[in-house]
Symmetry: C2
Subunit: 362 residues, 2 copies
Amino acid sequence: MSRVISTLDVDLGERSYPIYIGQDLLRDAKLFRRHIALAQVMVVSNETVAPLYMQTLLDSLQGLQVEQVVLPDGEKYKTLEILNRIFDQLLEKRFDRGCTLIALGGGVIGDMTGFAAACYQRGVNFIQVPTTLLSQVDSSVGGKTGVNHPLGKNMIGAFYQPQAVIIDIDTLKTLPPRELSAGLAEVIKHGIIKDAEYFSWLESHMQDLRDLDPEALAHAVKGSCVIKSRVVSADEREAGQRALLNFGHTFGHAIETGMGYGNWLHGEAVGAGMCMAARMSRRLGWLSAEEETRITELIAAAGLPTAPPELSSERFMELMAVDKKVMAGKLRLVLLQGIGKALISEDFSIEILQETLQSTTA
Amino acid sequence: MSRVISTLDVDLGERSYPIYIGQDLLRDAKLFRRHIALAQVMVVSNETVAPLYMQTLLDSLQGLQVEQVVLPDGEKYKTLEILNRIFDQLLEKRFDRGCTLIALGGGVIGDMTGFAAACYQRGVNFIQVPTTLLSQVDSSVGGKTGVNHPLGKNMIGAFYQPQAVIIDIDTLKTLPPRELSAGLAEVIKHGIIKDAEYFSWLESHMQDLRDLDPEALAHAVKGSCVIKSRVVSADEREAGQRALLNFGHTFGHAIETGMGYGNWLHGEAVGAGMCMAARMSRRLGWLSAEEETRITELIAAAGLPTAPPELSSERFMELMAVDKKVMAGKLRLVLLQGIGKALISEDFSIEILQETLQSTTA
């Protein structure tokens, strides 16, 4: 039986949209119909998720002109070339400007479908149905869409908001434990940068989350979405506040790129990246050793790596130099003054950075 | 000697920008520097325009980190694949979010560079330097950017505004006469849809324009930009008014697609398309025979075709069915109630449309 547990409005003026969090929402035909303007609907999914959930969703869309595109699964397929398959299908089926795209899958599917929606005929509607914890707490809020380039992650994309995000937490039952952990990295991140109380709640409920307790999951998904949507609403274009959400990501992206996309999960790289950022903050004298330990332990309790793979500090620096967070050649990092207190800084010596890179290499 | 003849502000709130129209503006280093925030500049041009004007522009950008991408020339290269060359170059040269892209060329270069700027790291600055009459009066105003797909023109793109448009009318001296005529199609269109007085001025100055009289050109470019920017300012997202700018384009796009991109110039197809739309308006009893004749004669005087190539009415209908102007399966056309008075209508019999398609086939 479909049940909306909670609803959250992401406030972006005329581009505001609701996030629904609940159980069995894929069967809630009325909920989908409420956000589909006209008859043409294209569901974009991948080869892992489609066999599990496509038919259930299609049943909820009966009576509409529904088509589907099933892409190969994985970060390495998040390319312009694979994106073009969505455009091919939209044009072959003669989809017009009034159509709606539905992203059924994790972050890669959400990012690609959102970017396709942003670009198709210069912008059509889309609905996100994130089926991984990572995409539920992260990519479903904030309007970031796009694809990777061989020389950098998410280098080609758009800011584009969905009509609605429909989060069915029951889909987490089929998620591999490793991917659940990867999602928990972003959940932990939200606590670290903005909310010490939420961080404490996570310390005492980490096992419930890993055991898929529905009440705990709904609480964590909503808590994370609230923090992220608050940050995003205040600063849609990432001038200031929003950059805090990159905590752990500059190091994390370097790890992902250095290891080749898809070998480390995004959340795993962010987990290690957050430990590195915490360590660097402690080295700068900004964060206490006790707080660094709490952060590292919670990340470990989530089943995530707490140190990067073997990469020389030279290679690390090189990889960080093409990261999006680099403005005019100056490296800016998100660092900590305490749990719940992040800041953006370029005010650190290169030596402290290099020490951090060396000392944390496994 | 550089000389700004006139300046126009396109009013779009926080995304407003100036258009400078003048002579020898490629050498106006100060004008360029005023709109470049940080040091990294990528000039995008094509194999025809680059040998003529690249060095002059590079000289005006001395002291900055300037790189260039020279693309093959022509509508058939306006693809996602060729677009990717711009991204390759930006990433190879480690361009960051503070960079500026400059489009040096016609509409294809402007559309592709603007789309690359819209997507690179989800949005960087760009400046348009249109070197064809068509791009000076059309694609430099309105924020439409994008690429083609084998199944339709401009199907993949974004609305994205430049920091500035710098129109050096001296570049028209190297423009082939056939392309000058193609640009005049859009100039005429602006008169037809919005301004009977401007249309009359064009009737008496068409030869001056074709003879490249500088005062006449500057007047026409400014007049067209004023009309278009007024329409665009009122309605940035093409809900209502802006669709009037598609006058002649639904027929025109069908001609272009049917003949294969690049065989007919865009302006030529629009010229023939406007004659078809005028004829259909007369058949509907909305436009007088005298006004239809004035329109057809001005289009002919500009050196443009006044009838489409040989395409069956069935093929025409098929080609129009994937056009962007089709909402939910209903064909909407821009038609005329008089010179200077265009309207959007779906209130016509399919027979009148078919008669128009048949009778105008050469």
